[in-house]
């Protein structure tokens, strides 16, 4: 059966032994600005680790995640995900945007929002089937949202919305998860559920790169910390700086 994938790219196998993310000398500039948002950043993240991406507002955290997600084209440098160029295999990378980037007033249910995580596997014309729905329900249950399946997305609390976005990233069954501020303005229960989920992902060999302002439990929740300052990498290593 033919599948018409969105970017016409097939599902490629990862290169054996390749790191989850390899970035080499990447510079990103926004139009109309002189200061680059990312300035010659290089880093290498092995598979199966949880990485916290920290830094002040405007330090380049979101820009880095967006560049890895393929949303922004770097001016210079090279990036690869499991040895493949950016955009070569969309299902392998899941991106969780900041909550403000989603139109929460849109009339869809939580189940429908999470189901969108399966679209990358189906492409044009094909619709998600019963197995996709079963996966969605299982993941929503895992994230404590089973009772809210039929609720309109705008009726959720901030923490529940963040968990719904995480659920969408999980049903995508990606290997590299890029999470932009998943802990901002969430309640303690949501934070605990998100931390537990990241730990489970690590045990499954998946990699998570998480932009965060919450520095209080870095040692418990992450394996590695990357700090950005004004678009440059100023620390990369263990969580106990």
């Amino acid at each position: 059966m033919f599948r018409f994938l969105y970017s016409q790219r097939r599902h490629h196998a990862a290169l054996v032994g390749a790191p989850a993310l390899h970035i080499e000398d990447v510079t990103v500039s926004y139009p109309g600005t002189t200061q680059p948002a990312l300035d010659a950043v290089s880093l290498c993240i092995p598979a199966g680790v949880r990485v916290a991406l920290v830094g002040a507002n405007g330090s380049g955290k979101s820009t880095l995640l967006k560049a890895v997600a393929g949303l922004i084209q770097p001016k210079t440098g090279r990036m690869s995900i499991y040895g493949l160029p950016i955009g070569a295999c969309h299902h392998r990378v899941a991106y969780l945007p900041q909550r403000g980037e989603v139109d929460w007033r849109f009339p869809i249910t939580v189940e429908r929002l999470v189901l969108a995580g399966r679209y990358v596997h189906h492409g044009w014309l094909r619709r998600p089937g019963p197995s996709d729905r079963a996966l969605v329900i299982a993941v929503l249950d895992q994230l404590g949202l089973a009772d809210l399946v039929r609720r309109q997305i705008g009726a959720l609390s901030g923490g529940q919305q963040q968990r719904a976005l995480l659920a969408r990233a999980l049903v995508q069954e990606a290997d590299l998860l890029l999470l932009d501020e998943p802990l901002s303005a969430v309640d303690a229960a949501s934070r605990q559920i998100i931390a537990t989920t990241l730990d489970q992902l690590r045990r499954q060999g998946k990699t998570a790169l998480v932009a965060t302002h919450h520095l209080d439990r870095l040692a418990d929740e992450f394996d590695r910390v990357i700090e950005l300052h004004d678009g440059t990498l100023c620390y990369s290593g263990g969580q106990n700086r």
């Binding site: 969105y6 899941a94 139109d103 969408r168």
Partner: protein
């Protein structure tokens, strides 16, 4: 009562008008759901106005009015995307500039016809003047637009509420927007026959806006908007027959009354 309802349908022009109103009402309502939810009401209004020069050029040369309108509508849809593509000019500014320029060009051409009356049905619509050949064209466009919306439902839905995630999975949000604009251009052309250039955006926006006040499920919103649009079109058609008022205006005012009721129901429910 039954006689009152059936009597107008003994005339073939009424039956043709009724079929056209139903097809146009459903298409506008379903597409209108995206127009309202994606905050594209302004571009819907603009597109309906910008087909005017295409219509007038076609009329002056004896070409197909549909053809002229579709060419003008598509040119505008693509032109707006092109002018605002790099963000140098904001999209609403590009719409404002192109829409008024095209409409003014249309009026300029109309003034050369000698009599505005010849083209008044373009401005205000004339549902009772729909010919069987027009009806076929309306049916083909309506079915094509609805089929496209059905096949691309999940993509249009996702790119509407989360365009960034859509981009990440390889689904180009700007191309989805272009698809919507092209569908909008075709729909607007069928709509002009029913309510005219000036009131077309009302059929696109008002039924969907009313339905959005009553439900928070997209398929239900589209269904409800279709019921409102078709119901209003029927009321307008009968008002035109029995009370001898302009059908387009009657249809639009009926849609507005539905919106008023929906707004009242929503307000009462939230208290």
């Amino acid at each position: 009562m039954l006689n009152w309802l059936l009597e107008p349908l003994t005339y073939s022009f009424m039956r043709t008008g009724l079929a056209a109103a139903t097809l146009v009402g459903i298409t506008c309502a379903v597409l209108g759901a995206y127009v309202v939810l994606r905050r594209m009401a302004f571009i819907g209004d603009a597109l309906s106005h910008t087909v005017l020069p295409g219509l007038v050029v076609a009329y002056l040369n004896g070409w197909s009015l549909f053809g002229g309108a579709i060419v003008a509508g598509l040119l505008t849809a693509l032109g707006i995307g092109w002018v605002s593509r790099r963000g140098t000019v904001r999209e609403d500014t590009a719409i404002g500039v192109l829409f008024t320029a095209m409409f003014a060009f249309g009026i300029l051409l109309m003034s050369r016809v000698g009599s505005f009356r010849d083209l008044s049905h373009i401005l205000f619509g004339n549902i009772l003047g729909v010919r069987p050949a027009d009806l076929w064209l309306i049916a083909v466009i309506a079915v094509s637009v609805l089929l496209t919306l059905f096949l691309l439902h999940k993509e249009l839905e996702l790119s509407s509420y989360d365009p960034i995630y859509a981009e990440v999975i390889g689904l180009k949000a700007d191309r989805m927007r272009l698809v919507l604009l092209v569908l909008l251009a075709f729909t607007v052309v069928t709509c002009i026959q029913v309510v005219g250039v000036i009131l077309t955006s009302a059929l696109l926006v008002t039924p969907a806006a009313a339905a959005a006040l009553l439900t928070n499920r997209l398929p239900r919103l589209m269904l409800l908007a279709s019921v409102i649009a078709v119901g209003s079109a029927l009321v307008g058609l009968y008002a035109s027959y029995y009370v001898n008022v302009a059908s387009g205006a009657a249809i639009v005012l009926c849609c507005t009354a539905c919106f008023g009721c929906a707004w009242l129901a929503r307000t009462l429910r939230s208290h």
